[in-house]
Subunit: 508 residues, 4 copies
């Protein structure tokens, strides 16, 4: 990974948490800190001296640096183990620098507050932190950091003994950091779930391939008879080949086995290799199943919306055909369902319903108050009254040419046209347009307030957005505000008067 690339990658992760952490209290609840029902929240989330918060962006940056180092360690450890003899060269120095970083992290962990898994509170007591760390992961972290192989020089004259080399593998303990990184990324909606998951799976697969390849090579390398090894069966002088060639062969064998391709050009030749191969293939069976399971999960999730849409449209089409509905109704049906599916995809109404009352009212006021204030029927009513009305309104889309209100239907709702347009029709003989409804107009109010069947059909002429207010809600709000009710009734007479003048009728 080049420097610039690393940097972008890096800065991205530093701002890793959900935006809500930007609030001053965000860090209190965006993690798992939540008291039990009926208990008192521990409010002292202010941290003591020399204590690092796990949500501090600088600590996050440090964590990301360590993850990069872990990836390096994960690759180099098995490789060194299998292919390299121990020498005090450049690689040796890099190794020690990397270890230094991890040693620093061990020290920092003694100053890092943690979230108690039972009480969900942030613990920032030095003693508790130390006890917890010492009793859990401290010993593993030390073992995975200490330069054990170098220490071995003190006791033996060469550090390349297989046992001491194996100690290096303890560094793989560091991989738990990558695991927790992925767990966090999966919950972050700024990253695509599909790709986060895929990268995780590819990483696991590549690591498995790399490790198995290295280990398999080591078995061949140590076997006394090179002709009876998987790599030496073809070419007994394989140890003279370049590291690159040997490494590629190992990885090639490893992946041929993992994907169960199994060409058979390279295969186990002695019992040790067979044993390792048995274990590796069993592991592969699990890994492959896990990959397929994950992919299935992603596919099922990804296609569910399209399938639902298809099922709904099919049900509608069949319903229309079976009952021989006239084409106009079938068209209305289909276009309504298509529109509904689209707005449901946005989950607007659903999202609103899940919110608490006050928040919902807040949103409704922000969205609908400017429109409702201009409505003629509510001209002059008090602000309180409007607030209460607006909180109860529901927005709906109607596709073009759909009936919103039917003539002679019992009045159930008052409608306000927000955008689009509609016609009022009479149904004497054939449909005849009486008056056009413009954005900002109400309809259905005559039926509701005079308690009589709807006088006219209302049909949209284009894609319209309409606010709906239930009859019972309107009446109960008017009852609670009698003064506003009188203003509305006098507005209503003006509306009816103008309406009658428009349609040239005098009796309604």
């Amino acid at each position: 990974m080049s420097y610039s690339c690393t940097k972008t990658f890096f800065s991205r992760f530093c701002t890793d948490e959900l935006k809500i952490e930007g609030n001053s209290y965000g860090s209190v609840f965006s993690s798992d800190i939540l008291p039990s029902l009926g208990a008192r929240i521990n409010r002292s989330t202010k941290l003591g001296n020399y204590i690092i918060s796990p949500f501090d962006p600088r600590y996050r940056a440090w964590e990301m640096l360590l993850v990069v180092l872990v990836v390096y360690s994960a690759w180099i450890c098995p490789f060194e183990f299998a292919f390299l003899s121990y020498k005090q060269d450049a690689l040796f120095i890099i190794d020690h620098i990397v270890n230094g970083f991890f040693a620093l992290d061990i020290i920092m962990t003694f100053f890092l507050a943690y979230v108690d898994s039972r009480t969900y509170l942030l613990v920032h007591d030095h003693k508790k932190i130390a006890v917890r760390y010492l009793s859990t992961w401290f010993i593993f972290d030390v073992c995975s950091t200490a330069p054990l192989q170098s220490l071995s020089f003190l006791f033996t004259d060469h550090g390349g003994g297989i046992g001491f080399k194996a100690l290096n593998m303890l560094r793989l303990w560091r991989l738990r950091r990558v695991s927790s990184l992925f767990a966090r990324l999966e919950k972050d909606i700024r990253f695509n779930y599909f790709w986060t998951r895929c990268i995780k799976l590819v990483s696991v697969t590549l690591f498995a391939v790399h490790c198995a390849g290295c280990f398999y090579y080591m078995i061949a390398d140590r076997y006394p008879n090179p002709r009876r090894t998987w790599i030496g069966a073809d070419n007994p002088n394989f140890k003279q080949e370049s590291v690159w060639k040997r490494y590629i062969s190992s990885v090639y064998w490893s992946i041929v086995t993992l994907t169960t391709t199994g060409y058979g050009d390279l295969h186990a030749q002695n019992t040790t290799e067979m044993l390792f191969d048995i274990v590796y293939m069993l592991f592969n069976l699990g890994l492959t199943s896990y990959l397929i399971g994950n992919m299935t999960n992603l596919v099922v999730h990804g296609t569910s919306r399209t399938r639902n849409f298809r099922d709904t449209v099919r049900a509608c089409t069949e319903f229309g055909a079976r009952n021989q509905l006239p084409p106009r109704i079938q068209d209305q049906l289909l276009s309504h369902i298509c529109l509904k599916f689209k707005t449901e995809g946005m989950k607007q109404q659903e999202t609103l319903n899940e919110l608490p009352r006050a928040l919902r009212s807040n949103i409704a006021q922000h969205l609908f108050l400017p429109i409702v204030q201009k409505v003629q029927l509510f001209n002059g009513v008090s602000q309180n009254f409007l607030y209460q009305l607006v909180s109860e309104m529901e927005a709906e889309y109607f596709p073009p040419r759909e009936d919103v209100v039917l003539q002679n239907e019992a009045p159930m709702d008052v409608y306000i046209l927000v955008s689009g347009g509609a016609d009022m029709l009479t149904h004497s003989g054939h449909h005849q347009v009486v008056v056009k409804v413009l954005p900002g107009d109400t309809f259905g109010e005559i039926g509701v307030l005079c308690d009589r069947p709807q006088p006219l059909t209302v049909r949209t002429t284009e894609l319209s957005q309409i606010l709906r207010l239930k009859r019972s809600t309107l009446l109960s709000i008017i009852q609670a505000n009698p003064a506003d009710g009188q203003i509305i009734m006098s507005n209503l007479f003006l509306v009816i008067f103008r309406f009658n003048k428009n349609i040239g009728l005098t009796t309604i």
Copy 2:
């Protein structure tokens, strides 16, 4: 693909969109054009001069033609790259014609309106279209269309250099068109989802196999020592073989690897081949998982209905057996569930419930008004009253020999028999048929309107369709229309009189 076949295929896709586009406003909302809640819809969807709508059927036909050309390009590009040396022959001319079509499309894109992904509005401003195209895909489209290999003749004396050949691979950029075609097809209910999806997956698989085969052959073709190549290990003079034979060998190897069969008769012989093989196998792991995931998704979706049916029937059977219900009730139970599953499969009631009131009323009037008008009980009532009644009715199927109303039960609904037949029974000692219910008759109305327990049991004699009207709905509609209520009450006395005469009783 022969000409006639292509033509059918073609004309099919030209009428690609949902039928609702046939409306004059259809194109406005059948795509993703939808304003935000509370905002004003941009009404000027009338397009300017020299602007092509993306929903124009002629443009769709042009798009389909391009898709066919893309499929050709996708096949020929890797093939030319690997197997053919560059010559100015027939293939050369065809290539340039195909490129001509795509060049034309680049020009057309400057006149093509697009849907803004944020505002969901159709943008048809020449400048905006140009800016958007130039800043996004223009450069890719030009690169994938320009005859770069031909241009190379101007600079070098032969056009077959590997670098210049690789430039041809840029044509694969065109594949994004196929991808968007499949996305559209999946949402079109006129095509079976299962098969659309399968064809997509097969296409992807075949393309992967073809590309890998061609590329693998090219590696062998360029390798200095033919004996150390996958194809030359058996037959070092492979270059003398016919193109057909070499192509089949490549594809054979490719698919043996992709399906993880891995016979091993053809396998990587040198490090370059191993490297490519590693990458290809990793890709295959992903592709295979993706195929299995998709198939699982389709299977789960396809069998869900049968499984639900089985679960329901099993629960019923167990319920009956555990509680030792008499066989007659068990039969009723099972037949009711079977019938319900069938009508639920049609999702009739569910479809109706999801619709807005006016549309639902419209459908109910179309379906039930002719029947309800002939009902004796509603003889002489006003049309408005009937409209309101019909909107509230629900249709239900009853299997034969099922009880609809029980004697002495509290009255909750009025029923109208639409089709089939039923018996009214008394339950004194054993069941005795009192009177037959014929299509168009009502029952349960005496209980509801006189507010007394049901006088008789009603049991269907054959598969019956029954309209149900809730007691509370009926009473509230009658309350709102007192004149019609009086007509109904006088009709009711006629009904009771005739009923009593029929069953030979005088006191009810």
Copy 3:
């Protein structure tokens, strides 16, 4: 398959349909016969002369016989094609007998009523049946039955030409019968879904293996150079081997490829074989995905109940631990959830809720009337009153030591103990048993009918079944039946009197 085995298999399928067909009207709706909403059902399901019903058990038996013959045909056709030269021996005669059965079936189909897929009605008009059959499958059925190979003797001197042999493969058209059989079996709850599905998949797999093996052998058999064939590479004189050995080799190769094991001991040697292998492997990719998809579907379905149970119990345990509930309440919680899961597994309440009112009342009367009649509180009330009460009751299980009613709680329900036992407790200081509740006793009725808080806590002592009646329901039924209400109130005084005497109190 031996004779006796075949017979059992046979008789089983003859009674293939759901039991509800046993009703005289069963066959009308157990198939897909269902009219559209609002339309009239075609009642003339009585069949004409010389017309066979598709639901006739004798026709079902005939169908099963044909299925057995189809299985034989499916196996013998590819085998004959690949391994046998045409001779007029025993096999020839068996073939002609089998063809005779299918010829008979073609004739019978002209007399077989069918269900119209659009109107869902049984069509039994001779002309319509003939037109439909002639215009759809007649030509295929004839081609798959006619002894085309025998006819070929008339034109050529030997019937073994590859073209004429291929005509025999038309017999595989008969397999559609097996497909429709499995579709029917999957909906039949008498057969385990898992195993039905598995057998279907195994059959498809075996057939694919058999066909591919036979076809692959044929390619080798016809190839001019036996040394360049998959089977002859090892043993060029393979044609001298026994049919059995050659068949096993073919099937072995076929299954090694299908399962993607791909040992490589037998593999394609020439271009024809490679081409076939490519097609077969692509097919296998689809088949394997389909198998895995099906298995996943079955596993998900099979384990869903256990997983739900675990999730619920875990949620409960965590809820208790987090809120530090006292152990007694935690025990009650857990035991209630366990019990609920068990009764939900039986889906008793759910099944009841999905039924229409009359059927539900019927079941409730059958189950609960004998118990409610003996209850002291309802002593002397009218039968009608009891009917109405019983229809509204709900049965619930309570685990031992769970509180059913709490002292001082607002009265919401009346309870009748059906089985088990309970204690009435006062909560002054510590719990003290006041009186024991025996099966047939009511409790909570004092609170409900006197409209006061519950005087005592009721706690079960063992697993108890309790009927619950909502307060509002009881009061509204009493309101509708004032006479019975008075009887109940006088019973109530007796109950209170005895109750007070029992607990030694006089003021309640």
Copy 4:
């Protein structure tokens, strides 16, 4: 398995059942004992003399011992069959001891009560137990236990005949015990479902691999020509190799085939081996599908929560962006959804809702009574009144800076702050903090009890837990307890008085 390991494993399983069995009645319902609705429970669960309960911990321990022996038998049986000639050595003695244990179990089964699968009752009648056992599994158990091979010595001079050896395979019948153990473990929430399931699958896979390896070796061992066997093709003197080497080779071949790797270094050489291989590969196809299906199931289950969270957050973010909500509302939205997801993860409200009334009241009293008792508004009311209030309260979490009540909103609920903090704000011009709400304070009560719009906005300042009581519930409880109502109203005046003094207003 070493001794200490076995012991831990052992003691763990002995306490195998759910904790609820600790109750004295636990064993009655924790198994499947449940009477049918409306029937009488059989209460005599007291067991007779010399009858062992299947729920007795000592019997459970005995069962676990047998499971360990079964695992040993399952491994040794195929191994002996294939690799060992029959000798009277240590293995022979161990075999007989193991058989002795199983013989003892056969005898014990005659004294073991069982749960009748139809009536769900525990049967402890000696005769019924004997009849059931003799008519079902007795004969299998005896055959799998009797030392048939030893008996064979009585009739033949050597016990190694293949037929007699095959009789030993009857011991595999014992595996049904392991199957029932896993079925029980899957339902036990103390064990992780994922790992229980994985161990089960790994066990099945290993057993299949072991059996197939042994059987395949036996085929080679018996084949007359060692050169034409899978193992002898390379090394015809394979019988001289150590058992260990031959066993590893067999298992290696077996797993290479099972995982469909199929290197091809070892493959079938003769028809018998091909036949076995065909059967084994078909079995593997099923087993692999089953493994993948299970893994998919586990993955889907494991990731469902993360996916739901992501979907919800995405819907919210899109809703905010599309409607251009101000950042403050967007923050509230997002933080509310995050919090809700977390509390929903605990399923607290859901768990409560599924419980019966009395249990729910019990929990609510335990959790909320201490808090509600200290509330000023309820100062001096009766305990009964408080009980009724508390049962109806709902706890909710509110993230910091979220509005709980809006100024001028219609009053719907009374709130009690349990923990956290909130501000009361006026909205004249910009927000101004009027008074702070502390834990134990109520708000919203003025609006509800005086029936007027909320005078002030209430906004949380930190993560707060709030109890909510619906207006209608409060009013109906007050109506039922007029005395307490008066106390509350007088408390209310004190509250208003102090409230007015705090905010410096006198008119409210």
